[in-house]
């Protein structure tokens, strides 16, 4: 698992809305942990975090565990016209990364030339601190 690194890409570190279902997930990101939830009844790994509720079987007892933090790019786009806080940081990459645990997670690919990103590319998680009790999970070439 990766620890906190400076955000070398210049992407904005927007703060998430933290609620009772996601407080532990976001606390984990500040420790360099990408916490997933697994349902003990049906063994499904859950994404996005629902704070215990399992959408696969309706159980309310899912338990958190730390992901390996590695995966591959499922799809991506190089954004040439960003909006809002992202308007001044183009080009940048938005992707779905398929985690080794199964879920496909929306994120950014950082620390590489956008033109080098490709589907199937191995990546590992990095965390960019928002300074507000959470860090954004982004992915860099593994």
């Amino acid at each position: 698992m990766s620890t906190q690194v400076p955000n070398s890409t210049g992407l904005p570190n927007l703060a998430p809305t933290i609620d009772p279902a996601t407080a532990e997930f976001w606390a984990g990101t500040t420790r360099g942990e990408l916490l997933l939830e697994r349902c003990p009844d049906c063994q499904t790994v859950i994404w996005y975090p629902r704070g215990g509720f399992c959408p696969a079987c309706g159980s309310f007892s899912a338990e958190r565990f730390a992901a390996t933090g590695t995966g591959t790019v499922y799809t991506f786009t190089v954004v040439h016209r960003g909006l809002g806080e992202y308007s001044g940081v183009t080009p940048f990459v938005i992707a779905y990364v398929e985690l080794d645990e199964g879920p496909r997670v929306m994120t950014n690919i950082v620390d590489c030339d956008p033109s080098d990103v490709h589907i199937g590319m191995p990546v590992r998680v990095v965390f960019h601190d928002t300074g507000q009790g959470a860090a954004l999970y982004r992915f860099a070439p593994a």
Binding site: P20, A21, V79, G84, V89, I94
Partner: protein, 387 residues
């Protein structure tokens, strides 16, 4: 008269026992009351095929269907304040009576007391912080993610996507109200600025003010009206969502809505004379044509080559008003113009240059939300009366 009388039964109820719930998110409270009412009924989440909730805040049926992991063939986010849920029971009974769903779930949740927000206390949609912080501020990025995967998986090309825009532009040149009236070539589409790879500016719909409206009446009322000669043969709908992180970006909710609409209408693909296909982006059209069964999965790019979509003369004339790509996408919502142009075609009132000869049966398909996360898909099949 067909009524809902004795066509539907209340099988389960549940009132959340707490009055202050600081330790739960609003979405979790939706889940708790859903599970409570289903347990009371002796049913489970997997039995639910119709879902109803209000539309306040950023919630709505799309977010909650995704959160709860439902697979629904009928959805309703009618928002009428505190009375919403009584509307929902009536609408659920109509849907059950019509065979559109069998188990309808209605939920309400909110935290105006401990949620820290004003108003109804709905908060942000539960997925917002897991999708909204990475620069997905415009629709184009999400559709670009889908296009990239479709190209990788099926060999679809930018040239093939451009063919969709070219066909729309050939139609728009005859529409004096269209935002863009100049025909474009495949080369011009590919030369337009890259917005979010692989989508160029000309792969994107226009941004327009405006609106539209539709009046639907009973057969008894229609009999006395001079222009009510288009009837609804069938409709199917679905919410396709992120599937607990197992999202597949290469198909749309059309895989569910299309077959249901065709089955209800009792027609086949060869019966369809004209299609209005939601064209927020060129990739939207290609995936939708595949999912509705006009070609095999993955063959949409090849299908649209050689003027397939051009009217007149193409095998499957589409969006003869110029569509969202060239004509109009009012309020960033193109669904109503899809219905309107299909009705024009069935009335024989499309522009003469693009009118499909003897157009008797038309299909209109809407895609709302995003190919990259969750979407509402609806397929509507209509016919000229007497056809």
């Amino acid at each position: 008269m067909v009524t809902i009388k004795r066509k539907a039964f209340i099988a389960g109820i549940y009132e959340h026992p707490r009055r202050e719930i600081p330790d739960r998110s609003v979405a979790q409270i939706h889940a708790e009351v859903a599970l409570g009412a289903l347990a009371d009924a002796g049913l489970s989440l997997s039995d639910v095929d119709g879902y109803f909730t209000d539309g306040a805040g950023t919630f709505g049926a799309m977010s909650m269907t995704d959160y709860l992991g439902l697979r629904c063939t009928h959805s309703d986010s009618t928002e009428t304040g505190g009375s919403s849920y009584l509307f929902h029971v009536g609408h659920a009974a109509e849907a059950i009576a019509a065979g559109r769903c069998n188990v309808a779930l209605i939920t309400l949740a909110g935290k105006p007391r401990t949620g820290g927000g004003a108003g109804f206390g709905r908060g942000a949609a539960p997925e917002q912080s897991f999708e909204g912080l990475f620069g997905m501020s415009g629709a184009v990025t999400g559709y670009a993610l889908a296009a990239q995967r479709h190209m990788y998986q099926y060999g679809t090309t930018s040239q093939q996507m451009a063919e969709v825009k070219v066909a729309a532009s050939l139609h728009a040149q005859h529409n004096p109200h269209a935002m863009l009236t100049k025909p474009v070539t495949v080369e011009e589409v590919l030369a337009s600025p890259m917005i979010s790879s692989p989508l160029h500016r000309f792969d994107c719909c226009v941004v327009t003010d405006g609106g539209g409206a539709v009046v639907v009446v009973s057969p008894e009322v229609a009999r006395d009206l001079p222009r009510a000669n288009v009837t609804v043969l069938g409709q199917g709908e679905a919410i396709k969502h992120a599937d607990n992180g197992r999202i597949d970006l290469t198909y749309t909710g059309g895989v569910v809505s299309g077959p249901r609409a065709f089955e209800e209408a009792g027609v086949t693909h060869s019966d369809i004379d004209y299609v209005s296909i939601y064209d927020s982006f060129t990739i939207t059209v290609i995936e939708t044509l595949e999912d509705l069964g006009f070609c095999e999965k993955g063959q949409g790019g090849r299908f649209v080559m050689d003027g397939t979509l051009v009217s007149p003369g193409g095998k499957l004339p589409f969006n003869t008003d110029g569509g969202g790509l060239c004509n109009n996408h009012p309020s960033n919502r193109g669904g109503i113009t899809k219905i309107i142009e299909a009705v024009r075609q069935l009335r024989g009132e499309a522009h003469p240059a693009v009118q499909v000869p003897d157009c008797e049966i038309a299909l209109a398909h809407g895609t709302g939300g995003s190919l990259a996360t969750r979407m509402g898909s609806s397929t509507l099949i209509m016919a000229r009366e007497g056809a």
